[in-house]
């Protein structure tokens, strides 16, 4: 189980897992033995709403950094998610077809999207945000939205 940083804004609490890196838009990347696992942050899933459908690029697809890795359709919006790294999709989460609500229920665990074989992880990880920096981004974005009428 990862440890979390947390911030409470208005009636919401957002958690940031401290064992991975993040894009500004809220896609996380975690280096593991068999590749880099990616998924949505708690903030991004809460902001997007209950997820109805997820479509992840198929195994074997080659992605450039920021190229679309998945689309999610929620009760509020349709979101295109950019890949946090370049590489080949090595595995996708089968639960995304049968139980996409796992993203809402366990965004840092069972609700992962895919595992990518990185083509240049050392470069890509340098442009991602560490947990503290991403927490600051969450505070900024959530604070701005909370103050809007």
């Amino acid at each position: 189980m990862p440890e979390f940083l947390e911030v409470a804004i208005d009636k919401f609490t957002f958690r940031v897992a401290s064992d991975r890196l993040y894009t500004e838009e809220g896609v996380w990347a975690k280096m593991e033995a068999n590749g880099v696992r990616v998924g949505l942050s708690d903030f991004l899933q809460q902001r997007s709403g209950d997820i109805a459908f997820v479509e992840v690029k198929p195994v074997g697809a080659h992605l450039k950094t920021d190229e679309e890795i998945a689309t999610i359709e929620t009760v509020k919006v349709n979101v295109s998610l950019g890949s946090p790294l370049a590489g080949r999709v090595a595995e996708t989460n089968p639960l995304m077809r049968s139980a996409p609500e796992e993203i809402n229920e366990d965004p840092y665990g069972e609700g992962w999207l895919a595992i990518i074989e990185a083509s240049d992880w050392s470069t890509d990880q340098g442009r991602l945000l560490n947990p503290k920096a991403y927490l600051s981004a969450v505070k900024r974005l959530a604070g701005k939205e909370a103050s809007e009428p």
């Binding site: 209950d50 109805a52 459908f53 009760v75 609500e101 809402n104």
Partner: protein, 150 residues
């Protein structure tokens, strides 16, 4: 005086300002006003929240079908807190997942897809109501060979 005939109580979520909440209410109206008006009773969630005695009585004296527009499941939680028995817990989102073409949009006025989704849910619930009423009739019918006297 004869005892009131049991009904199935339908409790949609409030979901004000959200299309899926509006779908839950439209589905409840379809069941209680069009499909099974004599077998069902609509109980507004707001009355349960306020602790209205008649609403609570309807919940405790009948089985309930709850309809929720989001995972907060307010109608389910409120019926449980009011001491009710839920025979069917319907999630609008789960039904939408089976009918992707019926994406509900609009809040005060649903789009045609949202209205169709509400109809699908309403028809599912009407079938469930029929089952519940048949079960109730079976359980109240004297068994063959049973005696009135012990």
């Amino acid at each position: 005086m004869s005892k009131a005939k049991p009904k199935v109580v339908i409790v949609p979520c409030s979901g004000i300002g959200k299309p899926y909440g509006t779908v839950s209410r439209e589905a409840a109206y379809i069941v209680t006003e069009e499909l099974r008006p004599d077998q069902t009773q609509l109980v507004p969630l707001s009355l349960l929240v306020l602790g209205d005695a008649h609403a609570r009585a309807a919940i405790t004296e009948n089985v309930a079908v709850t309809i929720n527009g989001c995972k907060l499941a307010c109608s389910t939680k409120m019926v449980q807190e009011s001491g009710g028995t839920i025979s069917e817990d319907v999630s609008v989102l789960d039904v939408f997942r089976q009918h992707r073409e019926l994406k509900p949009l609009g809040i005060a006025v649903l789009n045609s897809e949202g209205l169709k989704l509400a109809s699908v849910i309403g028809e599912d619930i009407a079938r469930r109501v029929d089952e519940l009423m048949a079960d109730a009739a079976d359980s109240s019918r004297p068994r063959k060979g049973a005696s009135k006297h012990a």
